[in-house]
C-alpha cells in the first residue's frame, strides 16, 4: 500500500495520553494531505476498543500511558488483528524498549523529537510492509544483539534498586536470601557491563530495560 495522491487518504489512529500531543500530531498528519486522523485514544484500553471499531491503516502508539501501556495495547491489538500496522511514538530511545515494542508486534519505532522530519517516511516504510527504526536505535539494538539478556528476576531487582531499596529490603520483598540478591546483582552488573548499582539503574533506564 503505497502513498499516492490518487489513493484514498490513509486512516490513522493516534494513541497518546496527552491531548496537546495528539492535536499537534493530527495537524502534522493532515497538513500532509495524504492522511486522515480517524480517531484519538487517550490510553491503552481506549486504543484497543477504537482499533476494533475503526480498523485504521496505521496506529501511532505512545508507550507510557495509564490503564494499559503501549506494549500491552499493541499485543492486544495484534492478537485480534495480526496485520495491524502500529508505529510506536515515544520520548525515549533505548534498545530494549524498542525491542519490546517490536516483539509485541509494532512495525515501527519513532522518537517524538524526530516526528517532524521522519514521521511521514516512517509511515511510508511501514505501509510498504517493512519495519521502520531510527538509525540510532537500530545501531543500539545491533550492538546489544549478542548480549545475554537480563532475566525477569534480574529486571525485577533492577526495578527495586531504582526505587532506592537496599539489598536487604529487596531480599525481603521477593522472598529470597540477601546473598541471592547479591548474586543477581553481580550477574546484572556483568550483563550491563557496569561497576555499581547507580550506573546499572541509569543504564537500564536509558536502554528501556526498566521504566521510571
Amino acid at each position: 500500500m503505497a502513498i499516492s495522491n490518487e489513493s484514498a487518504p490513509l486512516r490513522i489512529l493516534i494513541v497518546d495520553d496527552h491531548p496537546m500531543m495528539r492535536e499537534g500530531l493530527a495537524l502534522v498528519l493532515e497538513t500532509s494531505g495524504k492522511m486522515a486522523v480517524v480517531g484519538h485514544a487517550g490510553d491503552g484500553v481506549e486504543a484497543v476498543q477504537m482499533f476494533a471499531e475503526l480498523q485504521p491503516d496505521i496506529t501511532l502508539m505512545d508507550l507510557q500511558m495509564p490503564k494499559l501501556n503501549g506494549v500491552e495495547a499493541i499485543a492486544s491489538i495484534r492478537s485480534q488483528a495480526p496485520k495491524a500496522r502500529i508505529i510506536v511514538l515515544t520520548t525515549y530511545a533505548g534498545d530494549t524498549r524498542a525491542l519490546r515494542a517490536l516483539k509485541a508486534g509494532a512495525s515501527g519505532f519513532l522518537l517524538k523529537n524526530s516526528v517532524r522530519k521522519d514521521l511521514l517516511e516512517a509511515i511510508q516504510v511501514v505501509c510498504s510492509g517493512r519495519r521502520y527504526l531510527p538509525p540510532g536505535v537500530a545501531t543500539e539494538i545491533a550492538v546489544h544483539a549478542v548480549d545475554e539478556p537480563l532475566t525477569g528476576r534480574e529486571i525485577e531487582i533492577l526495578r527495586l534498586i531504582a526505587q532506592g531499596k537496599a539489598n536487604k529490603e529487596i531480599a525481603h520483598q521477593i522472598a529470597v536470601a540477601e546473598e541471592t540478591v547479591k548474586a543477581h546483582l553481580k550477574s546484572i552488573f556483568a550483563k550491563l557491563d557496569v561497576a555499581d548499582r547507580t550506573h546499572a539503574v541509569t543504564l537500564a533506564v536509558k536502554r528501556g530495560i526498566i521504566e521510571l
Binding site: 496527552h18 500531543m21 492535536e23 495537524l27 520520548t91 561497576a195 555499581d196 541509569t202 533506564v205
Partner: protein, 419 residues
Amino acid sequence: MKARVFDYHDGLNPEEMSNTSVVEGRDGRLWITIVDGVVSDWIDPHHLRHNDLAPPVHIQSMFVNGHAQVIGDKTPFPAGVNRLQIGYSAPSLAAPERVMFRYRLDGVDRDWVSAGTVRQAVYTNLEPGRYRFKVIAANEDGVWNTEGASMELNIPPTFLQSQTFKALCLVFVAAALWGAYHFRVRQISNQLRLRLEERTAERERIARELHDTLLQGVQGLIFRFQAAAARVSHDPVVRQSLEQALDRADELVAEARDRVVQLRRTKIEGSLPQILERSAARIFTGSLVETRLTVEGASRDLSALVEEELVSIANEFMANTLQHSGARRLDIAVNYGRKSLSLQLSDDGKGIDLETLNRKGREGHFGLPGMGERARKIGASFDISSQPGAGVMMSMNVAAVSAYLRAHRRFFRISTVSN
C-alpha cells in the same frame, strides 16, 4: 585535784559501809569507821601504795563474721567483713578489774576509743583495705602502756567491692553513654536523611509533572507550528527560517527532557570522582591549569543530593580557580572514609582575600557564602583557607550516614524503618 577511789578491792566491805565516817588522826592517817562506830581500817595518805608497772597488753582472739580467726595467721580474711570482733586483755596481778583500755583502728577511728574495762572491740561493715588495730591499757593507778599491742588487718574486697567490678561499672557507663551518643547521632542523621529524601521525592514529583504535562504539551505545540508553517507560506526563505526555529524548539525540548530525566534520576552518571574529572576537563580545557585527582577508599554510592551539591560547590571552586587564581595546578581529593566522605580541592594560585570574598559573592556565582550555605544544607562541614600567594584550599566533610546511600554496617538498628 586528783582523786583516788578505794573500794572492796582495797578491803572495804560495801555491806558494812553504812553510816561510815572518816576521821583524820594526828599522825595523818585516815581512820574509817563502819557499822556501830567500829574502826575498820585506816589509810595513810602519805604512804599510799602506787603501782608503777604498766600492764602488758595482748590481743587474744579475733572473730570474723562470727568465725574464729587465728591471730598472726597470714591467711587473708574472707572477702566482705560484716562483723569483726577483737578480744584483748592485759594481765595485771594487782587489780586486773581496774585495768582500763583504749583502742583504735587506723582507717576507721580518728581518735582513741575509750573502752573502759571492756576487753573487746567490735567493728561492723568494714570497707576492704588495709587496717592497723592498736590497743593500749592502763593499770589501776593510771599508768599507761602506750606501746600496747597492734595487729595488721587486710580485708580483701568482695566482687561487688572489687576494682574489677568498678572498672566494669565504668565500662558499662561508658558504653551506655557511647550508645546514647550514637543513638542521638543516628537520630539526627536519620532526620537529615529524611529531609533529603523528602526533597528528592519533591523533585521527583516536579520532574514527573514537567515531563507529563509541560514537555509533552510543548512537543505537541511544535507539531502544530509545523503544520501551520506548512500552510502559511510556500516562500522557501520563510519556510526555512520557520523550520530552523522549530529545529531549535526540538533541541530545547530534548535538552529540557534530559534535564528532567536528571532531576528525576537525581543522579549524574558516574561516580563522584568521574563526575569531578569530567567537570574539571570541561572547565579547564584550553587553560594552563593541570588537574590531579586522587581517590582514597572504595567507591560508594552517594546520596544523589549530597553528590549534586558537592559537585556544584566543586564546580564553583574550579570556576574561581580558572578565572581569578592564575593557578597552574588543581588538586582534587576524594576520600570515601568509613565515618565520612570528604572532598578537598586546592589550587596553587595567588590565593584570595577571604574577608572580601566573605562579604559579597560575585555576580552570577553563588560565591563563598553560597558555597558554605549549600554545604550546610547537606549537613557537610565546610572549610576554606587561603594564604596570599599560596593558593586556596577548600574541604568538605559529610557524615557517612548522610553521604552514602546505604551504610555497610549498622551496630544500632534501633531506628529501623520498615515499610
